[in-house]
């Protein structure tokens, strides 16, 4: 894998901007916290647009903006960051969603105390997430992967809803314990490299060509897989998610669903398939089956929810099922489908959690039925919600369509029956989205409560628009996004074929 050294340390800069902003938040008065955080996240987003324009898309399989600083040379740990096409997409998703989340929080009435800590938590999350997606050293990756836990623990535990303590606790324990397996896996790859070549290294590039004894590779694959399966989450490791997402403040759920879950799927693609292709191939049937179970089981659970947030949370699990299924089909269409679905789900889940937050702000309840008939009074909100929900359902023109379409396409390469199974999963997602929209907007009930409600406007509307635009772009011009990562996933695939042959 080739790297192109950075002329400007772009990744470091975009990691530093939120840090600097959070230092300002800490030092300035509490009343400035909102403004400073908004400026910080905004600057990072604008900077990411510059990075996007400076990125050489014709060489998107190479790691660009690559920087490397030694941390512990004897054990081969170095702070190496850079962006290839896939990382770039995730990096862009991070900066976009962080801005949206902070923009939403500015007008969120739930956030009324300890503002400084709140904005510091979100700004630090942004830094850590960029670190996760940009790092090319496994230890550095792990450090950032774990660091995202701390601000999220606080976001859920301090500003969450009723069951916040229980949920934050559960969230932390699930993710932390599972990632200990990842730590063991990471050091074991390095130790294996030591046994093969006589030196420790944690560099992704060196570990790509690492060979393992029979059995050990599957063991290490599983160590990695446990961590990422809990993070993604894949049924049956998903039980932390509805609680964490259901009790987190709106912006917390947005970041959690839109970006934090992608850490799991991104890492599955990058590390599990990239580093252990033989094991991935061997375990493929099992993994695909787990993916399909996720889709179907989570869709059923979604239909049963009345709480808007838990509804979106379960639908996230089902979408992640699509991502995992597509990924472990191990062909080009599958990879494409899973990556585009990662980004698309980032948009739609963020949007739907904001819908839930909006409902709560107005009605102080997450019950879907409480908003019946509101299309009359809040037409703009209804239209935006419908757009996002249809996009999540996979309607052509929406963002999730390509993910689902290509998954079915990829499954068909193996077997028509498999494709039909995936299709059935897609059918359930249509069922829950339609049920959701009908309950929220179309059922007519007494109009007296709703008549006072103002439609969405201002910061919140802007936040929604920032979500809807990418959704439509993916829907109508998917090749814009495919151009980001097509070459890098081709590289992963060719590496896989090379190793297996």
């Amino acid at each position: 894998m080739e790297v192109i050294a950075a002329k400007v340390p772009a990744v470091s800069i975009s990691m530093l901007i939120p840090v600097v902003a959070s230092i300002f938040v800490l030092l300035l008065k509490e009343s400035y916290a909102r403004t400073v955080a908004l400026i910080g996240a905004g600057l990072t987003f604008i900077f990411s647009l510059f990075v996007l324009s400076a990125f050489d898309f014709s060489k998107s399989e190479k790691v660009q903006f690559f920087e490397s600083y030694d941390i512990l040379s004897e054990l081969g740990v170095s702070f190496s960051v850079g962006l290839d096409g896939l990382s770039l997409l995730m990096y862009f998703l991070t900066t976009l969603i962080s801005l949206v989340a902070i923009m939403w929080s500015v007008r969120d009435r739930q956030i009324d105390s300890r503002l400084k800590e709140y904005y510091i938590a979100f700004l630090m999350t942004e830094t850590f997430l960029i670190g996760v997606f940009a790092s090319w050293d496994l230890v550095v990756f792990y450090v950032f992967y774990e660091l995202t836990l701390i601000p999220m623990l606080f976001a859920i535990g301090v500003w969450g809803y009723k069951l916040r303590l229980y949920s934050s606790y559960k969230f932390f324990i699930y993710i932390f314990v599972s990632s200990l397996f990842l730590l063991l896996g990471i050091v074991s790859t390095s130790v294996q490299h030591f046994l093969n070549n006589g030196e420790f290294t944690f560099s992704y590039f060196s570990l790509l060509n690492n060979h393992y004894p029979e059995g050990l590779e599957i063991f290490i694959f599983l160590l990695f897989f446990i961590a990422f399966a809990v993070k993604t989450p894949i049924v049956p490791f998903h039980t932390w998610l509805p609680d964490a997402h259901g009790e987190a403040p709106t912006a917390g759920s947005v970041v959690l669903a839109a970006v934090l879950l992608k850490m799991g799927t991104y890492a599955l693609l990058r590390f599990n398939i990239g580093l252990f292709p033989e094991a991935a191939l061997k375990l493929m049937p099992l993994l695909v089956a787990l993916g399909i179970i996720s889709i179907v089981y989570a869709s059923w659970m979604t239909i049963a929810q009345n709480n808007v947030k838990r509804f979106v949370a379960y639908s996230s699990v089902s979408h992640m099922g699509f991502v995992v299924t597509a990924m472990f089909l191990l062909n080009l269409e599958g990879f494409k489908a899973s990556v585009i679905e990662m980004f698309a789900h980032g948009m739609t889940s963020a949007g739907l959690f904001m819908v839930a937050g909006f409902v709560y702000n107005r009605l102080h309840t997450f019950n879907m039925h409480s908003l019946r008939g509101s299309i009359k009074f809040m037409p703009v909100f209804a239209v935006i919600t419908a757009t996002i929900a249809f996009a999540a359902m996979g309607l052509p023109g929406g963002s999730s369509f390509w993910g689902k379409f290509l998954t079915i396409f990829a499954a068909r390469e193996y077997d028509y029956a498999l494709a039909l199974l995936v299709l059935a999963g897609g059918f359930f997602s249509a069922a829950y989205v339609l049920y959701f929209l009908k309950t929220m907007f179309l059922d007519v009930k007494e109009e007296s409560i709703l008549i006072h409600f103002k439609d969405i406007r201002g910061f919140k509307l802007t936040a929604f628009v920032m979500i809807v635009i990418p959704i439509l772009i993916i829907g109508f011009f998917p090749h814009v996004f495919f151009a980001f990562f097509e070459e890098s996933i081709r590289f992963i695939l060719s590496n896989l074929l090379q190793r297996v042959m």
Binding site: E146, L153, G157, S168, Y169, V177
Partner: protein, 488 residues
Amino acid sequence: MSIEALIGTVELPDLSMFLPELSVLITAFLLFSVELFVSDRVKRNLLPSITAIGLIISLIAFIFSGQNYGDTFYGNFTNDGLATLVKAVEVITTLLILAFVQRYYINKASFYGEFYYILAFTLLGAMLLASSYNLIVIYVSLELISIGFYILTALLRGSFISKEGAFKYLMLGGISIALASYGAVFMYTYAGSLDLREILTYKGEDIHYLVLGLILFLIGMAVKIGAVPFHFWLPDAYQGAPTPITALMASVGKLAFFIPLLRVMPLVEERFAIAWTLTVGVIAAFTMLYGNLVALVQRDIKRLLAYSSIANSGYILAAVAVSEEIGVKAVVYFLIVYAFMSAGSFLVVALLERNPEWENRIREFSGLRFNAPYLAFAFMVYMFALLGLPPTVGFVGKALVFMSLSLERLWWLALIMIVSTGISTGYYVRLVVLMYMKEREKEVTVPPSGRFETLSLIILTLATVALGVFPAVVWGLISSSADALFMR
């Protein structure tokens, strides 16, 4: 034989290697004499100052002793990279803890002048233990530390649990010494030497003497470090002791007691490697599981930290089981950083205890963030470090232990370590949740801390993070000292 020839055969000890110990020794005697003759009022400020100056001089002396490595005192005293590093950390930690001592005791109305020279002698024992291969010297310095700790634990006026803790410590400490010396006897029978290096490299026929001796020695040390099932004294002693002394036992004490094991590690040979790995590994597994499980149900913060200390001994022992170079490095790193983490966490408790209403209950931590934001933050850093969350030192330590286990293919031990760390999440995170996410139950006013205390806590907290982010700072020293051990 003429007197000149007789003197000529006597090899004079090279005192430059012994300078740090010498300065601590002189400080101890000085403190002893001053304590006898000076009035009580003057003592309160004079004794701590003398101790601090003595320790600082000893730190400076490391510059000289660190330049020539080798054996002196007829091979009974070994000055090498490991010894220098460990002793320097011991002196620094003692100095940092010393900052808390005076105010703590005055607040508890139990100031004793004797405290300071006993502290100095204890430190001397810890330093000697760090630099010897000789079984007799190890025995003597073990006793020196232990007797110091027995007395220091009991030195709290009007506290019953302090006496109880000290008594339990005394009983089990005696058993431990007996076992270790019994083991030493077997090793002597095997090799006819008291030097561990000669014993372990001796190619004798009766290897079972060696194995038996080593295991008894190991068990003796296991009592001292609080490994399960020899841990019964530890929670009581830690809870009963004055909190700065608890900090000292958990940091300097633990660091010192592990060194003899560490010195054995490079000498473990193929012949008895399996016995070593299995014995140490099984003890490690039980220690970490038991420590974490019991810590989960504690209500008293000092007992909780004591059980967490047992669990951490388990993690370190897991690396001791791997007698490879990376294992030695992991042990040294983990020991050094554990000294900082544990000292820091106990010292925060020592500060909180200055409030007369504080009862060391875990529930009292609720909403601590609102009453004492800086203390709460420091305590959170220590909790995350003990848990092993990056980028703190605890994470690097755990990663190194995992690396050693992975190299030796000890998967079962690694999995047990994952499970027990998972259990430990329960109580570490609960403290963070209590401090930051619960409302305060009662108003706890924390008296402002003094200059030295603040400085000491800042240094410890910074070290807990900085040594994790930039492990290279200490890694050079650790690496060279481990290499030197394996060169022999």
